[in-house]
């Protein structure tokens, strides 16, 4: 009916199509699982339910709130309306200073308490992560 060449091309096309669909499906699937949402302290306060997914919290480090012990650091992130206490053990970036912007990644224990696994560094003392800017600017 069809020539061998046509069949071969047809097979080739189907193969490409299937692999393309498969990879897109795979990518979207794991995107769903591995996305980290960004929230401000106020958004966390108004959360209906807590889950144990990793999130990022951004805002300002509250003045006079940093307490350092040998194995951990405690501080408070504020967006000037609500605040959240953070416990963190790990490397501290140089620009982690009271009164400056910060983004912490980790897990919520409850609405007032955050367990951070990472504090993000910045490169520029004037630079502020867009989320922090917005979290503060919105208010």
């Amino acid at each position: 009916m069809y020539g061998k060449k046509v069949k071969l091309r047809f097979l080739f096309l189907i193969l490409i199509l299937i692999s393309a669909i498969l990879s897109v499906f795979l990518i979207l699937q794991s995107l769903e699982e591995n996305v980290v949402y960004f929230q401000s302290p106020s958004e966390i306060k108004s959360l209906v339910e807590l889950n144990n997914k990793k999130i990022r919290v951004g805002g300002m480090v509250k003045e006079q709130s940093i307490v350092i012990k040998s194995n951990e650091v405690k501080f408070i992130i504020t967006d000037f309306i609500n605040e959240i206490s953070v416990t963190y053990s790990g490397a501290i970036p140089n620009l982690f200073v009271e009164g400056k912007g910060v983004v912490a990644e980790g897990f919520l224990k409850d609405r007032n308490y955050f367990f951070a696994t990472k504090i993000l560094a910045k490169h520029d003392e004037n630079y502020m992560p867009p989320e922090v800017n917005q979290a503060i600017g919105d208010k």
Binding site: I68, F96, K122
Partner: protein
């Protein structure tokens, strides 16, 4: 002051010359002359000269700390060492764009000189398309990011360069990366010119291959330099973070690598023409996107520096014009004569290269989606998200093993029709790799099956390429060296990720911290004065489980202008592993935050990227590669 004026007017004259070049080459296009008229060459040379003059005068302004120039004022300081005054020229937005422009004009001139044997109309069209890009960049520089803005009254002192950019590697990283990015613009223009002239052929493949290789080498080395810098300067203790800014440099690299392989097929067999053109367009578009995303501040990355959104819109419009133009040209001149597929035998070098391209396209789409999806979601739903390393690892790692095994098989395949030779030696090599991996892995507490498969695949490629290196004649040297480098890279990365260890703690001076029979002793600190910073040097003695003591001296630098604190990690590199110590201070506290890491095979990661590029370099230098 004078340099400022000269720089600005050179740029303006440079734009005029772009139009002259266009006019002259359009006139020359239909003339009966067989060669490009000297006028066009001379005009193109003049254009290059004016951009060079402009660039040199910007450097001069930086050296003289001429603060009447806004760019110098924003990015320099009198106490900065001379070397960083010069590198500060391209360490900022305006200067780096001027560098783009310089490389663009330089490359098109080199192209004109080097392509004398090519058809005249093709050369002129390449020149014209390249001039469109050049004019776009001229306007971009002059309108949105003029490096020669005048400041009055003249400030006494500048704002200084961000200290983390004051680094020898970061001084050469942008120029090298740009050579790679901009090299892809030549491939872009040339492939569009070639398709309109119906000149996408074996001869064209042979001629453009050099450009592909050169861009690829520069891009590879540029990415590696950035990675080395991030490793020791940011103190995160890794070489790749799947940060959006890193991803945008990796994406053109992937398409360029795919293109590099396809060009070989085109050169040998004269097929895959459309695909080569599509890859050329994609590579350049991705390079432009990289510049756009990094410069516009759209990317949600810890790498982004403060910047200006109006610039982003200009690049975006420019980008769209280029994409539509190129797709238009592509579809209008595309010949509906698709002889590509059906004379491919399933077991041949060309099929294997197609499979390589499938993998590349898959990796590309993973990275593209991971990078763009957060931006997309932010625009559509205003939800802020980030996509982290687990996403990439999960999607890329499982495909790496088949990719590596496939590479190992493909190395010995021949063109047109091939069969697998030396089956037994392949099987023996495979079993050896499996066995070796199992021996190494079984003592480690990691995900056994997953890593066994991945590492044995990497070993398999390693051994097959190693064997090739020894037995073969000089014929395939570039290919073998590059693939050997790649296998080494994969092995180093895999072992690095399994065997790395890390200790993070807060420690006071004089304290000891014990863990796993090892000890970190914080002896003392010492203060020192550098030319534009004060530094605190920490003295640490680290005793490992065998009782061996090493001393590490990480540093904290407090720069005077801008007032920024940076940490300089101290790294002891040996063939087998890096010992990495970085410390930070937290304001007003006696505790220092330290991070101590042992990172095996870091050295080999850099070496293997160099090997990879060396493969490309040999291929450029070798005239009759694979005859």
């Amino acid at each position: 002051m004078l340099a400022n004026q000269i720089g600005y007017y050179s740029l303006v004259i440079g734009v005029l010359f772009s139009f002259f070049v266009c006019a002259a080459s359009i006139k020359d296009f239909n003339s009966s002359n067989k060669r490009i008229s000297q006028n066009v060459l001379a005009l193109s040379f003049m254009q290059l000269t004016f951009v060079v003059v402009s660039f040199l005068s910007l450097i001069l302004s930086f050296i003289k700390s001429d603060f009447s120039n806004e760019t110098v004022f924003n990015n320099s300081h009198t106490t900065k060492p001379l070397f960083y005054k010069i590198s500060g020229t391209w360490g900022n937005h305006e200067g780096s764009l001027l560098l783009w422009l310089l490389v663009l004009t330089l490359f098109i001139f080199v192209f004109l000189v080097k392509s004398r044997k090519q058809p005249k109309k093709y050369r002129i069209l390449t020149l014209l398309i390249q001039q469109i890009i050049i004019i776009g960049f001229f306007l971009f520089v002059l309108i949105t990011s003029n490096p020669f803005n005048y400041l009055f009254p003249i400030p006494n002192e500048g704002l200084g360069l961000n200290p983390i950019l004051q680094d020898p590697i970061l001084a050469i990283h942008p120029p090298i990366l740009y050579l790679g990015y901009v090299g892809s613009s030549i491939i872009f223009s040339a492939s569009l010119a070639a398709i309109t002239q119906n000149y996408v052929s074996k001869e064209w493949g042979q001629h453009i291959k050099k450009w592909v290789l050169v861009s690829w080498i520069f891009l590879s080395i540029g990415i590696m330099l950035g990675s080395i810098w991030a490793y020791y300067e940011l103190g995160w203790g890794g070489f790749w973070f799947w940060d959006p800014v890193e991803n945008v440099s990796l994406m053109p690299w992937l398409t360029l690598t795919a293109l590099l392989h396809c060009i070989l097929v085109l050169e040998k067999r004269g097929v895959l023409k459309s695909w080569v053109v599509i890859l050329s367009i994609t590579t350049f578009t991705l390079s432009m996107c990289g510049t756009f995303l990094v410069r516009s501040g759209i990317l949600n990355s810890v790498h982004t520096f403060a910047n200006d959104p109006s610039r982003g819109i200009f690049i975006l419009i420019f980008l769209f014009v280029l994409i539509f133009l190129s797709l238009g040209i592509f579809f209008l001149s595309h010949k509906e004569k698709n002889e590509d597929f059906y004379n491919f035998f399933w077991l041949s070098k060309e099929t294997s290269i197609l499979v390589n391209n499938w993998f590349m396209m898959y990796f590309l789409s993973v990275i593209l989606i991971g990078t763009v999806y957060p931006i997309f979601l932010d625009v559509v739903t205003a939800e802020k998200i980030s996509v982290g390393p687990p996403f990439y690892h999960k999607l890329i790692a499982p495909f790496l093993a088949p990719f590596l095994i496939f590479m190992a098989f493909a190395i010995k395949l021949k063109w047109i029709k091939s069969k697998i030779e030396n089956r037994y030696s392949l099987i023996i090599l495979f079993l050896t790799s499996l066995f070796l991996t199992f021996l190494i892995i079984k003592n480690l507490s990691t995900d056994l099956l997953f890593y066994t498969v991945l590492i044995s695949a990497a070993f398999f490629l390693f051994f097959t390429t190693l064997k090739e290196l020894f037995i073969q004649k000089l014929k395939n040297i570039p290919q073998t060296v590059a693939h050997f480098g790649f296998s080494l890279l994969m092995l180093s990365i895999l072992f690095n990720s399994i065997l790395s260890s890390e200790i993070i703690t807060n420690i006071k001076i004089g304290e000891r911290y014990n863990y796993n029979k090892s000890q970190i002793f914080f002896e003392k600190i010492e203060e020192k004065k550098g030319s534009n910073f004060n530094s605190i040097i920490g003295y640490f003695k680290i005793t490992n489980e065998n009782g061996k003591i090493i001393q590490l001296k990480p540093e904290i630098r407090i720069y005077n202008q801008p007032k920024i604190i940076t940490s300089e990690a101290d790294i002891k590199t040996t063939f087998l592993e890096d010992k990495f110590l970085v410390m930070n201070i937290v304001k007003g506290n006696e505790y220092f935050n330290i991070r101590y890491q042992t990172k095996p095979f870091m050295f080999w990661i850099w070496i293997s990227v160099l090997l990879l590029s060396t493969g490309g370099l040999i291929s450029v230098l070798k005239k009759n590669y694979e005859k």
